[in-house]
Amino acid sequence: MKIDKLNKKYLTRAHTVLGLIAIFLFYISTYFGTITIFKPYIQAWELPSTHFSSDAEFEQIIDLKLYQIVRENKLNVKNIEIELPSFKDERLKISSQNQNSVYLNPYTKEILDLNNEYPTISTLFNKLHTGANIPYIGLTLMGVASSIMLFLMISGLILYLVKSKKTNENHNKNFRFKWHKNFGIILTPYVIIFALTGAFLGLMLSTSSVYALSNTNFEKQSIRALVGPIIFKQKALLEDKNKRVKPLQLSKLEEIAQKNYPELKIRKINIYNYRLENSQTVFSGYLKNNRALSSSRINPLSITLDSKTGEVLEKKELEDTHMIKKTLSTFYWLHFQTDEPLLIRIIFFILGIVMLICLLFGYLLWAEKKLSSDYGYYEILNRFSIALLLGIIPASAILMILHWLIPFSMFDRIIWIEGLFYVSWSFYLFYSFKETSIKKIFKMIFLSSSILFMLTFLLHEIHTDILLFELFSSNLTKQFVIDLLLIILACLFYFLYKRVESFSYLEKFERRSDV
């Protein structure tokens, strides 16, 4: 591929400048996004009510308990929703519109005492990932950063394909340039998935009213009102009946549903007009052989049965669903890995780490070049970057510690945790400017990360009163994996702390005596 020399210069400059604008936001988004890939694991770890053994075979269907729960909690019988235990949440959830949900241990069928518990860590990590922590403009800002990432990907690809022997020879010696380039190429599909969905959800949805206005001759400006009824059509509630009848056992109904729709993996059961004459039971979920197109959040497929007779009333197959719904479902599945087990999450996690390294190398390439320029200004930016890109690691460990330290019943608990998280992050920013030696800053960040991760692990053990080996022997795999990971991270950061002195590369960024 050949482009004009001047155009190549323009493109390189635009790639650098826009990269610097987007790197900080996109780094934060990628960092927290990479962690939230393991959201089901983190949620299981942070919610004590999910600490139950799952080694016994459980019977999903809960007829007797359901009747009792509906009566005791006065659930609205028009539509009772039962979310079956899954990889995402191992608890069994029963709810109805505008009423509190009831959670059950699916193995013992006992009602779980939530005791004000709330998934603080995963919620805050997710907020930081989407930019929702910045009021009003956060989501749009992340959308803009994602659009810039798409530009960086396309411009990077063009620059990669432009053959210039001279530059290749010069740059091949630079390890960071070589791997920034190679990682960039490897990550192209990853960037397309995540930056495109990020741009769509962040930027395009917040500016979607222009599309609504232009398509309705300036009559409607809400895209939800136009598109919602087409792709998110809800099943209408059934008309009221007074006559009460005893429905078939849920286990029997589930058997009929599976017999008529064997490829459907049931995730949710909706009972309309529970125990009334015209009651219907809808079993919905995803296709075992096509998870992407039938992701359970966007495009769930279903089978509707008459609760009294078990007769199949409706069967919604993949062919019957809207084309756009299938497209969005694929997007959603690729971004959130809905219903996916561990393996795919590990692959995306590794790609996320590679992305973070690629972004870091990109920044370092620019920072190295500017060492000989206006030192004072770039010195400030370098220290700011250390606090932002590395300081986020111990700050997120502090957030996890606060989750266990601050009582669940405390008023405005989330605000306290979120506020203290920002305070700790600011502390690393302050320390980066206060401390003269770059090596000392790295040492402090690594050592504090090591201590904080170890403390997080210990606090979890103390709070839940279960030791690590007990977690393993009680088959609490998710909680065990997270605790083990925390120990590994603590050891890794301690190792890095011990090795900082030998990082000769950092010396060139040390503060000069003439500044």
Binding site: V17, S208, I223, I230, I231
Partner: protein
Amino acid sequence: MFKKTKSFLHETKSKVGLVHGFTACIGAVILSYLSTLLLSIFLEGDYAVKIIPSMITAPILMSIWGIWILFSKTRYIALKKTFFSSSFLLICLYFSINGF
């Protein structure tokens, strides 16, 4: 003053300056929105078919339009590309909404 502005706009620089860069960014956003709005009007089907694909393609088009404007030797060419293309798309959009 006119001469000064004219020479400023026609000057070829080795670096992307503020005017050039700003034109590329703003131009890319305007052109991508206008072209996808036009696409949404031309696509046949319900509102979901018309709007969602246009919204998905907009961020990609933003980069492509941006690179196209960026590849201008002078600021004048960059401004000309942005102005004429957006005018053309605006006229097309006006007629496709209101009819001829």
